[in-house]
């Protein structure tokens, strides 16, 4: 291949966002050369835009002037129009899905260009989003102040009409997302998914000609980004790094810690739990209400490099996935932090759905895997604390997440394009 590869990604370092970091690690380890069209002015949906990562000789960042997503699309198209002869291959990376909208337009400008669409999350019918949707009707029974209001026919009709309108809006959004996703499936030459689960979920209604375009590429860790030596504490240190909210919640874990404290009032001398990043208010309240502040620390978000250091310093790191059983029986989300956890060499304690990508990885690694049961979580914490529980990690399997190995697979795939 003669030319550089153009990568379209809204997120890319110095913006500290999972999607950008996944891209960074992959490109850094690849043998090819890349131009990444991104931006660094807008740090929304990220942990800031000052992430200082080692320079990569084979990657050049091209920053858009704008901070607006809609204008970024136009700038990217404009850039391509001026430089289209330089590129044979373009790779668009979501989220956000706007990068794929750019891909669709680039393909029209230069139909012979090979387009690789890489998906972080599903664009349409995302189980996480589906579970977040509620019907916030102002005319609902819950908002009534009197019994008269509850039985009022006027309210009942208004509430029904609201629901119909709301569902219609939701359907329209879903339809729009589905159309975009299907357009990308149809027009992209190749597609990258981060797990078989994600691939099967997103392509479940597609024919074989679409399915044949897909490859699966693991998220990866970059061993050069971790500090060489770290200090370990006398106390057992268990950490969580990243975003938590009311769906991805440590609630059961906190309840389990609280029950352990009930049977051991010296628990704080033996163990510390540290959470770095966002945590939902109800979980913070639980920490205070159950008087866990001596054991559980909630800390500010940290830089990516600092997070890798924390992972390595910890004896155990937590993976907490949302319980999406209500909308999908398998977890399709491969959290990028799981790959970083693997790279850190620390033991992993996973709280996730029993079927899905995280569960598969944790089982193969021989790490702890619990589902959404306080009792189960408590039991394993007890084993760690009082029964000298040891992990015999499957180091051979860890290699499948090394960015060098993942990039080799990617390079091999790229070498066959044309």
């Amino acid at each position: 291949m003669k030319n550089r590869i153009l990568v379209i990604s809204w997120f890319y370092p110095p913006v500290n966002s999972s999607e950008g970091l996944v891209t960074y690690k992959l490109l850094k380890a690849s043998k090819y050369e890349y131009d990444v069209f991104c931006q660094k002015g807008n740090a929304s949906w990220s942990y800031g835009n000052k992430e200082k990562l080692p320079e990569t000789k084979n990657v050049k960042s091209i920053y858009a002037k704008t901070k607006e997503l809609s204008e970024w699309i136009e700038e990217a198209v404009e850039y391509f129009q001026e430089n289209k002869d330089k590129y044979d291959i373009v790779m668009t990376r979501s989220m956000p899905p706007e990068s794929h909208m750019i891909g669709l337009r680039l393909k029209k400008i230069k139909p012979e260009i090979k387009w690789i669409a890489s998906f972080g999350d599903p664009i349409a019918d995302n189980p996480y989003v589906k579970l977040s949707i509620s019907y916030p009707s102002p005319h609902s029974r819950a908002n009534c102040k009197s019994f008269k209001g509850v039985i009022s026919p006027k309210r009942i009709i208004r509430n029904s009409l609201f629901k119909v309108r709301y569902k219609k809006q939701q359907r329209a959004v879903l339809e729009k997302d589905l159309n975009l996703q299907n357009e990308v499936f149809k027009n992209a030459d190749y597609m990258i998914f981060n797990s078989e689960y994600q691939k099967n979920y997103m392509l479940k209604d597609c024919k074989d000609d679409i399915k044949n375009k897909a490859i699966v590429l693991n998220h990866s860790f970059d061993k050069d980004l971790y500090p060489e030596n770290v200090e370990k504490n006398d106390k057992i240190k268990m950490s969580y790094v990243g975003h938590l909210d009311y769906l991805r919640t440590p609630h059961l874990l906190l309840e389990a810690i609280s029950e352990l404290k009930d049977i051991d009032d010296k628990l704080a001398d033996k163990i510390t739990f540290e959470f770095y990043g966002n945590m939902g208010d109800s979980d913070k309240v639980l920490i205070i209400d159950d008087e866990l502040t001596d054991i559980v620390k909630v800390k500010k978000p940290v830089s990516y490099l600092e997070s890798l250091k924390i992972m390595k310093e910890s004896d155990w790191v937590f993976l907490i996935d949302a319980n999406l059983t209500e909308v999908n029986d398998k977890n399709i989300f491969f959290a990028a932090k799981l790959a970083d956890y693997i790279g850190s060499g620390s033991n992993i304690f996973g709280i996730t759905m029993l079927d899905g990508i995280s569960a598969d990885i944790l089982r193969k690694l021989n790490m702890i895997l619990t589902s959404y049961s306080k009792e189960e979580i408590k039991n394993y914490l007890w084993q760690i604390l009082y029964n000298n529980y040891k992990i015999e990690a499957n180091d051979e399997y860890k290699k499948e997440f090394d960015s060098i190995e993942v990039a080799k697979k990617f390079d091999d795939f790229v070498s066959k394009i044309n």
């Binding site: 059961l252 049977i263 319980n323 059983t325 029993l354 079927d355 569960a359 089982r363 895997l369 619990t370 589902s371 959404y372 049961s373 306080k374 009792e375 189960e376 408590k378 039991n379 394993y380 007890w382 084993q383 009082y386 029964n387 000298n388 529980y389």
Partner: protein, 341 residues
């Protein structure tokens, strides 16, 4: 000598097996327990995990690898090799609370009752709910004479696999041998040892964690309907067994077994009168035949079942509701019952 043998039936449970075995491997009690992992012809990687544990804990873990014969066959196999003074079963998708299990084993060393009863929890893992099933009216540590104790203290509960630890000699003396290739044989396990049971104790320890919600579980309502012939087979066996031993039981034993059969029969009628959705004509014929069988076999048990409104109503209407739609009939009966109240 080992204090406790734990039989772990394993069939395609590689996903849960580590959780189960890990929960028993508590350092301080490894020399006191015998974990008998019985592979029932699993097609997944369960046997590899089992062997891994056997190699790591050769003094504690025993592996039996056999052809598929069903849940009952695994317990039969474990009973044959068990050497512990006591015996209990832990299904491989369930687990023990390690903290309470350690206390339990240390306490069991000084125990001699025929049966020790403990509490357990139902874990609805997909929803995150956890429900403790405990004995409210039993006195902790009291040795109850099974032939004389007041059955009312059981509060309509009975001894099941998840809460029972039997003395191995009681199980052997009762000639307990579970049916093979049949679901619901735990009903046999709950009934058959009673004839040899002289006494029992209750310990307020919450040990067993019963995992609920897997679609393939036999206790799933839809599977009850699907596997109803298995349920019937075990019910018939138990009724015949009860008839055969009726005169050998003490009064209390007979009353207790009758009570268990009453609960089990309720479930059996409910499979037809409440849960069924398909094959209505066939189900109608089956339940009619069953009802006739029960009436002929034991009038007392038959009459006891009239306590249940659903069953009484269906008998009065000659089970026609099962033929039309058992689900809707069930709703009608429930509504009528409420109105009457």
């Amino acid at each position: 000598m080992k204090i406790l043998s734990i039989a772990v039936p394993v069939y395609n449970t590689e996903k849960y097996l580590r959780r189960c075995v890990d929960s028993m491997l508590v350092e301080g009690i490894l020399q006191d327990i015998e974990i008998i992992l019985v592979n029932d012809g699993s097609k997944d990687g369960s046997i590899n995990i089992m062997n891994e544990y056997k190699n790591k804990y050769p003094e504690t873990v025993v592996v039996i690898d056999k052809e598929n014969g069903g849940h009952g066959s695994t317990i039969n196999a474990a009973l044959k090799v068990a050497t512990g003074k006591y015996f209990r079963v832990l299904d491989s998708d369930d687990w023990f609370d390690s903290y309470n299990f350690e206390i339990f084993i240390n306490k069991l060393k000084d125990e001699d009752a025929d049966l020790v009863i403990t509490n357990y929890r139902k874990e609805f893992i997909y929803s995150g709910a956890s429900v403790e099933v405990n004995w409210q009216s039993l006195e902790e540590d009291k040795l109850y004479d099974f032939n004389t104790f007041d059955l009312n203290v059981l509060d309509k509960e009975y001894f099941v696999m998840a809460n029972s630890t039997y003395k191995l000699e009681v199980l052997k003396k009762s000639k307990l041998e579970l049916m093979e290739k049949t679901f619901y044989v735990d009903m046999q396990y709950n009934v058959m040892p009673i004839i040899c049971l002289k006494n029992f104790k209750f310990w307020k320890l919450d040990i067993y964690r019963y995992f609920i919600g897997r679609p393939e579980q036999s206790m799933n309502l839809q599977n009850f309907v699907k596997n109803r012939k298995n349920h019937e087979k075990v019910m018939r066996f138990l009724i015949e067994y009860y008839m055969e031993n009726k005169d050998k039981y003490s009064d209390n034993q007979r009353e207790y077994v009758k009570q268990i059969l009453y609960y089990m029969l309720t479930t059996h009628y409910y499979i037809y009168c409440v849960y069924a959705e398909k094959d209505k004509k066939q189900m109608y014929n089956e339940i009619k035949e069953w009802d006739k069988y029960l009436k002929q076999r034991d009038q007392e048990l038959y009459t006891m079942m009239n306590d249940i409104g659903q069953i009484r109503f269906n008998r009065k209407t000659k089970f026609i509701g099962v033929r039309i739609s058992s689900k809707n009939t069930s709703k009608i009966v429930t509504t009528l019952g409420r109105l009457k109240r």
